[in-house]
Amino acid sequence: MSSEQIIFYFLSFWFVASSLAMIFARNAAKAALFLVLGFFSAASIWILLEAEFLAITLILVYVGAVMVLFLFVIKMLNIDKSTLRAKFAGYLPLGLIVALIIIAEMTLVLGNAQFGLEVMPSPIRHAADYSNITELALQLYTTYVYPFELAAVLLLIAIIAAITLVHKKEINRKKQSISEQVNVQAKDRVRIVSIASPSKENK
């Protein structure tokens, strides 16, 4: 067994084990932390597949932002108490049977006869000066530049949607009323009063 295989099976074991621990965890915060471990193992497996940029992105974006957002919401909503009455419904045996059948079918379809090393040989490793980021950027900014822009628009829409959903209307908020500003008259803003000039009275 080569060292590459040992690393792969080690990482796969932790990926599968943390995923199982996640779905059986009673506490949502613990489940989120197990998912962090799972994402970390997945990123390591992606590095084995020479996808360094996506592996770093998985850790930075998912572990650094998305999972922190999950933990933030879990702690903010204080749902740890509500999970006390958590129970696994009677779907567990049926779910396990369905999952085992799916895994068996997938193993038959994706086995060594179809995707083994004889059918699809392992590609030669890139040289040390190969840059995964350069290759991805060349594709992303030429062939896929239009989807890239659309992804940016999608993120903007997501920001606006998320803020609009959770935004509370406050009563005493100082808000700009554009129609009032446009329709304002001079007499609303300026008041002309006639007062006696004190300098004339002194003379």
């Binding site: 992606w46 597949l49 919401v73 895994i103 995707f115 992303l140 993120l155 998320a162 959903l165």
Partner: protein
């Protein structure tokens, strides 16, 4: 050497674990969202494995876009959850059944 089928079987196992997580979960909706993230990680592993073995970077570009969409989905999903908790006072799966036909 690790064959392509090893990666594919690994990702199918992770996919099924995420699926079972959605089946058996009776606690809260946040765990459902996390199971969806797990399924997406399995699919991304599939894409990257094929991209590596076929020598084509298009699979990695696809994973990049999937991660973008998933991040947007999580942000909106958690916003909806916060709103649901504010209105209903609970995000248990058993309680949120007002859409039941």
């Amino acid at each position: 050497m690790i064959s392509l089928s090893d990666y594919l079987i690994l990702s199918s196992v992770i996919f099924c674990i995420g699926l079972v997580g959605i089946f058996i979960n009776r606690t809260n909706i946040i765990t459902l969202l996390m199971c969806v993230e797990l399924i997406l990680a399995a699919v991304n592993t599939n894409f990257i494995a094929f991209s590596h073995f076929l020598g084509n970077e298009a699979g990695q570009i696809f994973v990049f876009f999937i991660m973008t969409v998933a991040a947007a989905e999580v942000a909106i999903g958690l916003a909806i959850l916060t709103l649901l908790f504010r209105v209903r006072g609970s995000i248990d799966v058993d309680v949120t059944n007002s859409l039941k036909g």
